[in-house]
Symmetry: C2
Subunit: 245 residues, 2 copies
């Protein structure tokens, strides 16, 4: 039986999402827990996508095939018993064996949080502690250039293989509250480091080092060397994964 | 010269505020940092009060006497260089030697945050993960009984010495947002575990196990055995310390 598992995690204690030998990853913790439930028979989970070291998720998905017969409710309960406290299963449902957690994704939404105010030790792993003022109005002007279909080659850190970098962004928004900036990006898919690289260039705009229109120029250039900034991982959250009905 | 130091900390990595041999405490980290600045001559910091293991502070104060000549701005900068990332100095100012961080306190404000919604791994050390619905209306009725001057003997965990337990609470309020309850308490002083014990009994009200009026009865009884519940530390924040002008 195939199950779709919705879960959240605190990325600060993991070396990343994907299994790596002898390292603590989200995937390996999930597989360890489900393998116990599956009478010790090894399972592999398939995620909607990876997140990098230090990145958090409030709503991430994997699908998994399990041999033992178990209800969705019991699978959720058992997983939360076996998982460490920094991963939590929110929901489990049975899906048919055509469903794939990665290939059936329609859209994803990410959030990035930056603190312009005083350093906050409580949020140090959960909000980028930038701790200086930024020109938020200019950043709001600049973020609009990301909307729509673009070749995001200039915003991908690893791009040796020249793969297809065309993606569509359907929401790109900045909100401000108590000297904290929240960036929201929704789109059909995101390349590795894309969100953190987009936030990085927006910070440069906020520092008045470049103009909002320069973001469009960099995007159009398709040249990664034009944009060398990557915002740190701790401010990034995978918020939503939207699947085909 | 005497300095008043305003600082914040993430309580989750400390055994508590007060120095204890061979254990990691907020006080000992502060004293280690200042001793380095004071040319290695040992200093003792005097706090507005202690917080217990796992409790956080967004605005806590100590005063300290330092022999070396240093401006407030430089002292702040030097401390933030030497302190670990889970303590942060917000502000330093020179005060006269009559000032005492504990004896000059007028009022303190605490906040307690409880999540009635789904377990959130990202907030597990920062918000009490109660994860069930509560009768918030009854809790709002009950919290009013704490307002004013009372003998809080029934809400103190350690009370062998029968010391004076009379305190005045000037603000006691509940707010609700996204299935998170925030309790705010402001008053002339708080006894050990008092806030967590008050929250504990309010949770019992929220569970419909007792009526709001029972909170008044327990308070009036001055009998600790009538109230055996203490809410966990991770939801508690010292928010403000207000000093005499």
């Amino acid at each position: 039986m195939r199950y779709l598992i919705k879960f959240s995690y605190d990325g600060s204690g993991f070396i990343g999402y994907q299994t790596q030998p002898n390292l603590r990853t989200v995937q390996s913790e999930l597989e360890k827990a489900i393998t116990r439930i599956n009478d010790g028979k090894r399972v592999i989970v398939h995620a909607s996508g990876r997140t990098d070291k230090g990145v958090h998720a409030l709503s991430q998905f994997v699908h998994v095939d399990i041999d033992v017969s178990i209800t969705s409710a019991k699978l959720k309960r058992a997983m939360n018993t076996y998982l460490p406290k920094d991963i939590h299963v929110i929901n489990v449902k049975e899906v048919n064996d055509k469903f794939h957690a990665r290939y059936c994704v329609l859209e994803k939404e990410y959030k990035y949080i930056l603190n312009m105010g005083e350093f906050n030790p409580i949020e140090r792993n959960y909000v980028f502690q930038y701790n200086h003022d930024l020109n938020v109005e200019n950043m709001k002007d600049a973020i609009k250039y990301f909307l729509g279909e673009h070749d995001f080659r200039a915003f991908v850190t690893e791009n040796k293989d020249k793969a297809n970098c065309v993606r569509t962004i359907t929401k790109a928004r900045i909100s401000l509250k108590n000297r904290k900036i929240t960036f929201t990006f929704k789109g059909t898919g995101f390349l590795r480091y894309q969100v953190r690289n987009m936030v990085g260039i927006l910070i440069k705009v906020g520092e008045n080092k470049i103009d909002p229109i320069d973001v469009k120029k960099i995007l159009d250039s398709c040249d990664r060397s034009k944009n060398g900034v990557t915002a740190p991982a701790e401010g990034l959250y995978l918020m939503k994964v939207i699947y085909k009905k």
